[in-house]
Amino acid sequence: MDASFPHKSQITFIDINPAQGANGPAEEQARLQTQGAPKIDERRRVLITSSGDWILESLSDMDRKLDEFVRHIRKAVIQWDVSALGRIDSAGMMLFIRYYDRLQRQGCLLDIVGASPSHERMYQLLRQYMPEFVAARPALSSRLLRFFQRLGKMTASSLADFTAFLSFLGENFIIFLLALRHPLSIRYSAIVKNIEEAGVRAMPIIALTSFLIGVVIAYQGAVQLQKFGAHIFIVDMISISVTRELAPLITAIVVAGRTGSSYTAQIGVMKITEEIDAMRIMGFDPLHFLVQPRILALMIVMPLLIFFADMIGIMAGMFISNIHLNLSYGEFLRRLQVALEVKHVWIGLFKGPFFAWLIAVVACFRGFQVSKSTESIGRYTTISVVNAIFLVIACDALFSVLFTELGI
């Protein structure tokens, strides 16, 4: 009962008639093959004595010792003395049974001596639940084949993923049409709550990132423009690049990481705790109650965040120009009115709802894909953010080409 320190498990192998056992294993093998099975009394005789506790903590190298010994034994007569054995647990007994069976398979005659009733009981118990010998599953033969198998599986699963995404979009569109017919059914309070969470609370981090972007652009531009003595064009550079491209992109990336991931995790947890099922049972369509407010909230708040990022980015540029190029604030603002056509700002803001829609739709879709295990929340949250950022950048590239071709 007490947790006394286990005695080390021990085993000894003694050849009783070394005259024959002295032959090397290879000779022994050869002799057996030429003569066929020897008569009982001609066989090699071995006494195995095990002692100590055969329990998990003390078994360490027993398997290696037994393996070394058993490997070379064929058709021997073996007496296995277990009378000095102390405690034995299922691991120890399992080890015993494995080698007992293996020796029998190798044609040995085995005689177990000195087993106590508790050993017998453990033996019976394990025999009863011994796993049947399971044939190994056929492995795929070559690496090449395995590569194609994986490729095929991945292709099939991404196609299935894509169709599921399309049907999710379709369902959402129907919900949107229904909402247009019954505008009062839209969950305005949920939208306002999401605007606060995704918009107002995101302002500090958006301010910080766009300020740093403004600083970087101003610094890099200043060095180049100084070479030409074209200081004043720093204003054109900062204002156009920030409003048209950088502010929307940076804002979208921050929002994808911050809000997109939380949307996926929120919906995923609700899926695991069966809240989603509970909503369906009560007739609350989760697309209407969970997804639509999130999408609408993000689409409303994104242009506002972009405008906020525009201001902070330009302000940072103005600040750096003043320090680095001695451009006064007044001069900067006068140049800004000339340089920055308002269409650049509009284009930047126009991208906002599109980015927002992509982020929200992907995040909610991935949230619904979360399955029963907690691990899948993490996996789908990662996938959701990666997908959203990729789609935002792809969409931005599309807009760039489109607006340039249209001459806007």
């Binding site: 009962m1 190298d61 691991a91 295990s373």
Partner: protein, 257 residues
């Protein structure tokens, strides 16, 4: 009662200002199936968590296998932790590992047994708890409730523990599954000489498997002993427990084991 394995002496537990246990004492004997009973919020799960060192009581002493838990050293605690298995209420299988990997995890971590021996032990445990062989390669999310309990029991038994703690082992199982699980625990106790501590409020389990039990209520142990001893106790909580509609029906059928 056999030699004591766990003794709980004057334990006081508070969560903030909320008193859970008010000087409770009980004793669990060797190779016993010991039940902890009580209504919801009576602190039976808390008491079990204190026995396995997940929580520590504010006052009093718990002795497990001769170790005093309040003064136990790190190395002793590590040794002690290998001598018990715990079946959590929701299974608590690691969701990123298959059933076989879940069972093998302590064997891999704490022993240097060869890989194929560990696999054999794992398959044996899977057989022993009555799981089908193909369950070994499934992930916890793919198992039914009863299979989760059985897989979790197999994991608790992986290291051949002397002590087995079960937190509501039959909750969430259908009557047939619950009955089978009770029988399984009885059989394992007889075969392996385990001492089993189970938190339960399943009346059938109390009738069929539990040898002795304690009823917790009013922050105290209000009754302890065998079924006949406890039923003789006049305390109103005990009377409510066994005198309720379900308790009465069960009592008419008598003890069947």
């Amino acid at each position: 009662m056999n030699a004591p394995v766990i003794t709980v002496t004057d334990v006081v537990t508070r969560f903030g200002r909320n008193l859970i246990h008010d000087r409770i004492s009980l004793t669990v004997g060797q190779a016993e199936i010991y039940g902890l009973l009580g209504g919801s919020g009576s602190g039976k799960s808390t008491l079990m968590k204190e026995m396995v060192m997940l929580l520590f009581p504010q006052e009093g002493e718990i002795t497990v296998l001769g170790h005093q838990l309040s003064t136990i050293s790190r190395t002793e605690a590590a040794l002690l932790r290998r001598q018990w298995g715990v079946l959590f209420q929701a299974g608590a299988l690691y969701s990123s590992l298959t059933v076989a990997e879940n069972i093998a995890v302590t064997l891999k971590e704490y022993t240097d047994l060869p890989h194929d021996l560990i696999q054999d032990i794992v398959r044996m445990k899977i057989n022993m708890v009555g799981l089908p062989a193909h369950a070994a390669d499934l992930y916890p999310a793919e198992l039914s409730g009863g299979m989760v309990k059985r897989a979790s029991l197999a994991r608790a038994l992986a290291m051949d523990p002397q002590l087995l703690f079960l937190d509501e082992p039959t909750s969430g199982l259908d009557p047939v599954g619950a009955e089978a699980f009770d029988q399984l625990i009885l059989k394992l106790r007889d075969l392996l000489g385990l001492t089993v501590i189970m938190v339960t409020h399943d009346l059938d389990s109390i009738w069929t498997v539990v040898d002795r039990f304690a009823v917790l209520g009013d922050k105290k142990v209000i009754a302890e002993g065998t079924l006949t001893e406890v039923r003789a106790n006049p305390h109103p909580i005990v009377r409510d427990f066994f005198g309720g509609e379900r308790g009465r029906i069960r009592s008419q059928n008598g003890k069947q084991s």
